[in-house]
């Protein structure tokens, strides 16, 4: 049996997936570490070089990204927002960014995945395809828990898309041990549209402080329409609400206590400085 199958087209890949049990392999930066000592149980299906999965398009309404697009390709593309590029630049190192893909980051569904807080904040949707079906799912529904998504054995993640929405405030923090090649202890993404000191829209998402990215539209809604004074008057309550929805854990990278403390301080900083960011 072939252990490394290289389909020539997306259709061929999907046909193979409908006939046999394979593990999709895009950049492989995680897979190769996972199987460093153990033989993989299933053949790999190499989708990293499929042109049909490597693109960035702006169709006027959405930014659409093919799942096998590498981080480096995103950094080089003019359709990708400046803030998203800043986030991507903090992922790993140039050689990993040349190989790692956005689809891999999503499908691995790590709580610490660095593209996720932004994609949650943008209400991104993922397109899941099989040989005879295609569906779009909001990313927050697609990712169920650490390492688990809704994807079925015969399906591939084809496209990631998010609406082109204009915010005038963007903010991102990644806390890791060093600048390059560090996995996040935690991360924070916030953006807002503020006109005449009134919050018209706001998005707040936090990475690596819960099994999945922490974002709560109900809390964000409490901030809509507020001015500086209004925001200040409920700031403590907002922070308390976020404290209730996050569930950080102790692991090899950090402790629950550190994560909770720091992410809430960053939240506090974001809310206090939102008008001047």
């Amino acid at each position: 049996m072939e252990e490394f199958i290289i389909p020539k087209s997306l259709n061929e890949a999907l046909r193979i997936m409908s006939e046999m049990d394979v593990e999709p392999f895009a950049g492989g930066t995680d897979i190769m570490v996972k199987y460093r000592y153990d033989k993989p149980a299933k053949p790999f299906l190499f989708i990293g070089d499929l042109k049909e999965l490597r693109y960035v398009k702006d169709d006027g309404e959405y930014i659409r990204i093919g799942s096998s697009t590498t981080y480096s390709e995103l950094l080089e593309n003019r359709n990708i927002d400046k803030i998203f590029k800043e986030i991507i630049k903090k992922i790993a190192s140039p050689s990993i960014r040349n190989r790692g893909t956005i689809g891999g980051n999503i499908c691995n569904a790590s709580p610490a995945a660095d593209t996720l807080p932004f994609l949650y904040g943008m209400d991104c949707e993922v397109q899941i395809v099989s040989i005879n079906n295609s569906r779009f799912i909001p990313i927050k529904d697609f990712i169920i828990s650490p390492k688990r998504t809704l994807i079925l054995k015969n399906e591939l993640l084809k496209e990631i898309r998010y609406k082109k929405e204009k915010f005038n405030k963007y903010f991102y923090r990644k806390i890791g041990l060093r600048n390059a090649n560090s996995l996040s202890k935690l991360s924070f993404f916030g953006c807002a549209r503020i006109k005449k000191n009134i919050i018209e829209d706001i998005r707040i998402s936090m990475g690596a402080v819960s099994p999945v990215v922490a974002r709560e539209r109900e809390i964000e809604k409490m901030l809509l329409g507020l001015d500086k004074k209004g925001l200040n008057s409920i700031k403590e309550e907002i922070i308390k609400r976020y404290e209730d929805i996050i569930h950080p854990i102790d692991d090899q990278r950090s402790t629950a206590e550190y994560r909770r403390e720091i992410v809430l301080r960053i939240l506090n900083y974001f809310l206090e400085n939102i008008y001047i960011i």
Binding site: E3, F4, G48, I96, N181
Partner: protein, 149 residues
């Protein structure tokens, strides 16, 4: 699986397990010893190679995925002017030297793409190369005053 690569300009065809890591194929099958295994997880950069003009960690690449691609290692660029100039400037900088080949590959790829990179670009280019004795400062300082010849 039949795999064809263009290694340092030479066409090589081989029948090989496609899951074998590129670093192992280079070292064991093709006698390319400049690529070193440090961490084996893409963290240290001592196995860095250039594939189709971009840098990659060869420990994370199954050889089946580089079929028909152009691969460069130190052995293939030794005589290139850019590498010679980088080495001249960094003469006596490296101490233990384990990270050296990986660093040189990263720097070569950078200077090949951009003749006058700034300090930040140099720092970024070697950010995936782990050095624990020479340090980065001297390398960056010696290279940032590159004069275009």
């Amino acid at each position: 699986m039949k795999v064809k690569i263009f290694l340092n300009g030479e066409k090589i065809e081989m029948e090989i397990n496609p899951l074998k890591r590129l670093i192992d194929v280079l070292r064991e099958d093709l006698n390319i010893k400049s690529v070193k295994e440090g961490c084996g997880e893409g963290e240290c950069g001592s196995c860095m190679v250039i594939i189709n003009e971009k840098v990659y960690n060869s420990c994370l690449i199954p050889v089946g995925s580089v079929n028909n691609k152009k691969i460069l290692t130190i052995e293939g660029i030794e005589n290139k002017k850019i590498l010679k100039e980088i080495k001249r400037r960094l003469k006596d900088e490296f101490q233990c030297g384990f990270c050296e080949n990986g660093m040189l590959i990263s720097l070569y790829a950078l200077f090949k793409k951009k003749r006058k990179p700034n300090k930040e670009e140099i720092k970024e280019a070697i950010s995936g190369n782990l050095c624990r004795c020479t340090g980065y400062q001297n390398i960056v300082n010696k290279l940032k005053i590159w004069k275009n010849s």
